[in-house]
């Protein structure tokens, strides 16, 4: 393994230019060069970002922190951005969003993510129980607008709740790495002090410029503050919040409370929010009800329980189809969100981005399909 990532990257750019050339493409018709690169090293790809797990840490009982080493196609993440991570579990590729928690300026070419384990979840539980160094995952490039502005303000106020700490952690680490001369107030809401993934690191990093405040909602007296977010908390730890650049990340109620307060005071242009929602897996299995949305055509129709194909045609769309009995896969399309049921065998699919056969699939509740 080449130690110097920037050197490796420069070399890779030359190799990639050759591999991406028309001649090599013509020689590797129809499968493409990636399929052959994978024979040599599964991490190699001309365009795809793949990463190998380089380290696994269990800071708390219900979380796992992974250090990932992406291949040279990774273009880096700005502080606060997230990636879509795909991992294969029992033969099925599953994709979830994770915020990058590491500093944007981390020099060793690795990134860090932390997954909070959702007991009903597939991916987070798998990562907690089975992730070992050497596990390979696929990544998207970094995405998201929850990032630092070009010109840094004098005061940054960070508010997070639960696992929403991860992108905020990236902001803190990046600002620290860049010797940010201003002031940071970091206000974190947690059930109990022991649940905070980065507690030790934050305690060590706290200084006159970085004020770390925990508020425990289920363990009075454990943090400097108690209970859920309210205005008094801010008046106590960051009375100048109106002049600060504020970032908030966490569960819906926290975001709503913060946003409402900022809107009320007319300072919402200095607020950036990132919503974290736990996937509601299998929670909604009604056969009708909710809305069926066709994302590509922008049409929404109330879900009447018939197959997606019939409902799409009822809404005036004409998706490709063939046998209309689940045989030919001509109508297979991507379901972007929601739960669906196969009408032939009753199997429920909740996975985001799954391919479904429109002719034998009925939506359960709110569903989005890419047609």
């Amino acid at each position: 393994m080449v130690r110097n990532p920037s050197f490796a990257r420069a070399g890779w750019r030359h190799v990639r230019r050759v591999l991406d050339s028309r001649v090599v493409s013509a020689l590797t018709v129809p499968h493409g060069v990636d399929r052959y690169l994978g024979l040599v090293n599964p991490m190699w790809s001309v365009r795809e970002v793949r990463a190998v797990v380089a380290g696994v840490a269990h800071h708390t009982a219900d979380s796992v922190t992974l250090t990932l080493r992406p291949n040279a196609n990774w273009r880096g993440a700005r502080a606060g951005q997230h990636v879509r991570l795909a991992v294969e579990i029992d033969g099925v590729r599953r994709t979830r969003c994770f915020s990058v928690a590491s500093s944007a300026d981390r020099a060793d070419g690795t990134i860090e993510i932390t997954a909070k384990v959702n007991p009903a979840g597939t991916v987070s539980r798998y990562l907690k129980e089975a992730a070992r160094p050497g596990l390979m995952v696929a990544l998207s490039q970094a995405e998201g607008e929850f990032v630092l502005p070009e010109v840094l303000p004098e005061h940054v106020l960070l508010i997070s709740g639960g696992s929403g700490i991860t992108p905020v952690m990236s902001l803190v680490r990046t600002l620290t790495d860049r010797c940010y001369p201003g002031r940071i107030t970091f206000l974190h809401y947690t059930r109990a002090a022991g649940d905070v993934v980065y507690r030790a690191e934050l305690a060590a990093a706290a200084s006159s410029r970085l004020d770390v405040v925990f508020s425990c909602t289920a363990e009075p007296g454990a943090g400097r503050l108690d209970g859920r977010f309210r205005r008094e908390h801010l008046l106590e730890v960051a009375p100048g919040y109106a002049d600060a650049m504020t970032y908030v990340c966490g569960p819906g109620p926290l975001l709503d409370a913060v946003r409402a307060m900022w809107v009320e005071e007319g300072i919402e242009d200095r607020l950036l929010a990132e919503r974290f929602t736990a996937a509601a897996i299998g929670a909604d299995v009604r056969d009708a009800g909710g809305e069926l949305r066709f994302t590509r055509s922008g049409i929404t129709t109330p879900n009447d329980g018939r197959t997606v194909l019939e409902q799409a045609e009822g809404a005036g769309l004409s998706p490709q189809f063939g046998c209309r009995m689940g045989v030919c896969h001509s109508c297979s399309s991507v379901k972007t969100s929601g739960s669906v049921r196969n009408v032939l065998d009753g199997a429920l699919t909740t996975e985001t981005g799954a391919w479904i056969q429109l002719c034998v699939t009925a939506p359960c509740g709110d569903v989005e399909v890419d047609i």
Partner: protein, 374 residues
């Protein structure tokens, strides 16, 4: 339906449908890591054969290298087209969510564009299997493969057409969607095929460029050895694919159906048609692998989107169901099935003679013991 498929009662059809649906559910529910690992192993093996084949042919001036290289490349193309391409494009691995194994994204190492194949094969052939006038795979618009096709003097050339099709099978598969028989009789205009022809041209040129220009040129002085090696590998694949595929529906005794029979078909009747309209080939594990498990044509036609490695496992149960309903489970060793196919190709070249044709067929189609079942 009543006249030509008389021996199963509506209740029996319903029961057959329920039984096979239950088997399908059982299989679909059991898919997982093993199936994923299997197809990945096959893909890896195919890639290794391909790389080894290309590398050996680079030294193709040395006869043993030519032979080994050509053999490796032939195996690569056979695996790519049959156990991987055909099966992946059926959606057998769509549940994995891997773009490289997705039915809508996969493209195979043959001149027929995947998109056209999915239409003619997955939809037309698998939905309307063996319905004369709807399943264009009955003779591919070229051959007389069932007695019910009306004889014309043109069919005197049946064996010749079949032989040429066998040699150039990948090109025949590509041209299939043009519906040449309709173009010939004026039921379809040449202009209608413009889009098809463009896509065929694009794929055909790419495939030919790779095998017949680029790799030979890369071999420098050994260009001719590489060229002949590549051409031989394509030919071997053609012969093999043709033979396996023709054994799937054309041996003697396989039933065909009319459009009237299949109107308002129930699920049970659809399964019934798939079972009677397909035939298997017996053989060992390795044989089934290089046959892309199309040697389990009956099981494949019942459950076309269940991973093919499962067919072997359910074959005894499908056979037991066939026997119980008194339906013929058509199977035999490769030599017998191929022999039967060619005998039929020759027999159907000639006009039907009164004493053999229709009566015999009818006898095979019906289910003699079915009455007992209900």
């Amino acid at each position: 339906m009543a006249t030509r498929i008389p021996r199963l009662t509506p209740e029996q059809f319903a029961a057959l449908g329920r039984e096979l649906d239950a088997l399908r559910r059982e299989l679909a529910g059991d898919l997982g890591e093993q199936d994923a690992a299997y197809i990945r192993r096959v893909v890896t093996a195919q890639q290794r054969f391909e790389v080894a084949g290309r590398a050996l042919l680079w030294a193709g001036w040395f006869p043993p290298a030519w032979l080994a290289g050509t053999a490796a490349l032939s195996i690569s193309k056979i695996l790519d087209n049959m156990e991987i391409g055909h099966n992946v494009m059926h959606g057998q691995y769509d549940w994995m969510g891997d773009p490289a194994l997705n039915s809508k994204m996969f493209e195979w190492d043959t001149v027929c564009p995947a998109e056209q194949w999915r239409h003619t094969h997955n939809y037309v052939h698998h939905t309307f299997t063996n319905i004369l006038g709807k399943d264009r795979d009955i003779g591919y618009g070229l051959l007389r493969m069932i007695d019910a096709q009306r004889w014309r003097p043109y069919y005197l050339g049946n064996p010749v057409y079949a032989f040429v099709l066998m040699l150039a099978f990948e090109w025949g598969v590509m041209l299939h969607d043009l519906e040449i028989e309709k173009l010939r009789t004026g039921r379809k205009s040449w202009a209608e095929t413009k889009g098809l022809r463009r896509r065929m041209w694009h794929k055909g040129v790419k495939q030919a460029l790779k095998d017949y220009v680029l790799f030979p040129v890369l071999s420098g002085p050994g260009a001719l050895a590489t060229l002949t090696g590549n051409a031989t590998a394509n030919l071997v694949r053609n012969l093999w694919a043709f033979s396996i595929i023709f054994c799937g529906h054309f041996p003697e005794g396989v039933a065909d159906f009319t459009e009237q029979e299949c109107e308002e078909e129930t699920r049970g009747q659809w399964y019934y048609r798939q079972m009677l309209g397909s035939s298997n080939i017996e053989g060992g594990k390795l044989f089934h692998l290089v046959a892309g498990n199309l040697s389990f044509q009956i099981e494949h036609h019942l459950f076309p989107d269940i991973p093919a490695r499962r067919y072997q496992e359910i074959a005894p149960r499908v056979r037991e169901i066939s026997d119980r309903y008194g339906l013929r489970y058509n199977t035999g060793p490769l030599s017998r099935q191929v022999g039967s196919v060619w005998k039929k190709i020759f027999r159907l070249a000639l006009p039907p003679s009164r004493k053999t044709a229709p009566a015999g067929r009818r006898g095979q189609r019906v289910a003699p013991e079915a009455a007992r079942v209900a």
